[in-house]
């Protein structure tokens, strides 16, 4: 399978950079899979799991939060505010995120804020059930 260049960057450091075969991106309007020669897309991402397939035998999963994905002819770049390997992820971390999101819902002072906070809370709930933690 053809490979393309993929980079995962957080504000603090470059987390992943290399040639990969396939990446599943949790886009805000639905997850999508990026293969080589994908058309240029720019999408915000929701909290979720990025699945990186480097080769048939080697793949990894990372939890990302807040950011966006940029598919260009040069490859795929994900800018994430936070990225944690799924192996290091546990129920406590997600619960903490979820609690923060629930507080945001309660604290929201206007409609736009409320909608954004609710969306985030629902996404996290969904993620939590998906991971079966």
């Amino acid at each position: 399978m053809a490979a393309f260049h993929f980079e995962l960057v957080s504000p603090e450091r470059l987390i992943f950079s290399g040639e990969v075969e396939q990446v599943v991106v949790p886009g805000s309007e639905g997850a999508f899979t990026v293969l080589a020669n994908h058309g240029p897309v720019m999408s915000t991402i929701r909290p979720g799991v990025v699945e990186i397939v480097e080769s048939a035998s080697k793949s990894s999963r990372l939890f990302v939060r807040g950011g966006f994905a940029d598919v260009s002819p040069k490859g795929l770049t994900i800018l994430a505010e936070q990225a944690i390997p799924v192996a290091e992820l546990d129920a406590a971390k997600i619960d903490a995120e979820l609690r923060a999101a629930e507080e945001d819902v309660e604290d929201a002072s206007n409609d736009a804020q409320l909608a954004a906070a609710q969306l985030r809370r629902d996404q996290l709930r969904e993620l939590r059930s998906a991971l079966n933690l």
């Binding site: 980079e7 960057v9 957080s10 504000p11 603090e12 450091r13 470059l14 886009g27 805000s28 309007e29 058309g39 240029p40 897309v41 720019m42 999408s43 915000t44 807040g66 950011g67 966006f68 940029d70 260009s72 002819p73 770049t77 800018l79 505010e81």
Partner: protein
């Protein structure tokens, strides 16, 4: 003419000072390496972010778009975010940033604009307080922060945005020292709101026909606030590296000065000791001759 004991004491005290400055220099050197690595590690994110924003902004008609990008059309109230260190003893590091900010503030006030100041770091606050007591709206201390993390910069970014949305100011500029090398830190003023992109990047903008999810404006809305935080984060990292660099070179100077001083004092000490011995000998000999 100081006595021998005075001289001895003075030499001992300069030696003690030299040990302290030497230790500070070495600590700064170690911290500098870490700060530099952190600044370099953060670069890819900020660069990508800027490229993408420039790309989208380049495609938009000027004057439209969200207020964070194009400003709110006014130019009356300026917010200056002055980032300095929490500690002194780092040469002209703090003063040079403060001087740049002060010049800007004075120029703006002379032009009849209103100035508001947020100080990040205690040293800048101490220096600016004398002249701009009324203009300073907040002091953010990062004293407890050892290694600058994005979570330290994010609240500052949010604060800047919420003030903007509340209509507290029209233009926001951040002041910090860009790290060039150990001996050169350049005090820099960077305009955050309205966002400015270098012409070269905007020119290379419209190369690919992107598909946007959810929409161009939606992405821009999500990105711009984050970009502010990223810029603040970057400024703080550059500042941290610059501070350690400045401290290292100024402590190096101090150590060398102390060395020179010790050498000079030792010579004076030896001279006056010899003079004393000679004097005593002369007294003894002339006493013996008189008999």
């Amino acid at each position: 003419m100081p006595s021998l004991k005075d001289l001895r004491n003075r030499i001992a005290s300069v030696k003690a000072t030299q040990k302290i400055t030497k230790a500070m220099q070495m600590v700064a050197a170690a911290k500098l390496r870490r700060a530099q690595l952190a600044a370099e590690a953060a670069r890819p994110y900020a660069e990508r972010m800027e490229a993408v924003l420039a790309n989208i902004a380049g495609n938009m008609t000027p004057g439209t778009g969200p207020a964070l990008l194009s400003g709110n059309g006014r130019d009356n109230v300026h917010l200056l975010v002055v980032c300095t260190a929490e500690r002194g003893l780092c040469g002209a590091f703090n003063s040079s940033i403060v001087r740049l900010a002060r010049e800007r503030a004075n120029a703006l006030m002379a032009a009849g604009k209103t100035v508001k100041i947020i100080c990040v770091g205690k040293k800048g606050y101490d220096q600016l307080r004398r002249q701009f007591e009324k203009q300073i709206i907040e002091l953010i201390e990062l004293r407890s922060v050892k290694q600058m993390a994005f979570s330290d910069a994010d609240p500052i970014g949010r604060k800047i945005i919420s003030l903007f949305e509340a209509g507290e100011y029209d233009v926001c500029t951040i002041f910090f020292a860009r790290f060039r090398s150990v001996i050169a830190q350049i005090p820099t003023a960077l305009q955050l709101i309205p966002a400015q992109f270098t012409a070269a990047e905007s020119a290379g903008g419209a190369q690919a026909a992107y598909e946007y999810e959810p929409s161009e404006a939606g992405i821009l809305d999500a990105l711009l606030p984050r970009n502010i935080s990223v810029q603040v984060f970057r400024a703080l990292l550059e500042n941290a590296a610059s501070e350690q660099g400045a401290r290292m070179s100024s402590m190096d100077n101090a150590t060398r000065n102390a060395g020179d001083m010790i050498k000079k004092q030792t010579i004076t000490y030896n001279r006056s000791r010899q003079a004393m011995i000679t004097k005593e000998l002369i007294e003894i000999i002339s006493g013996a001759e008189a008999l």
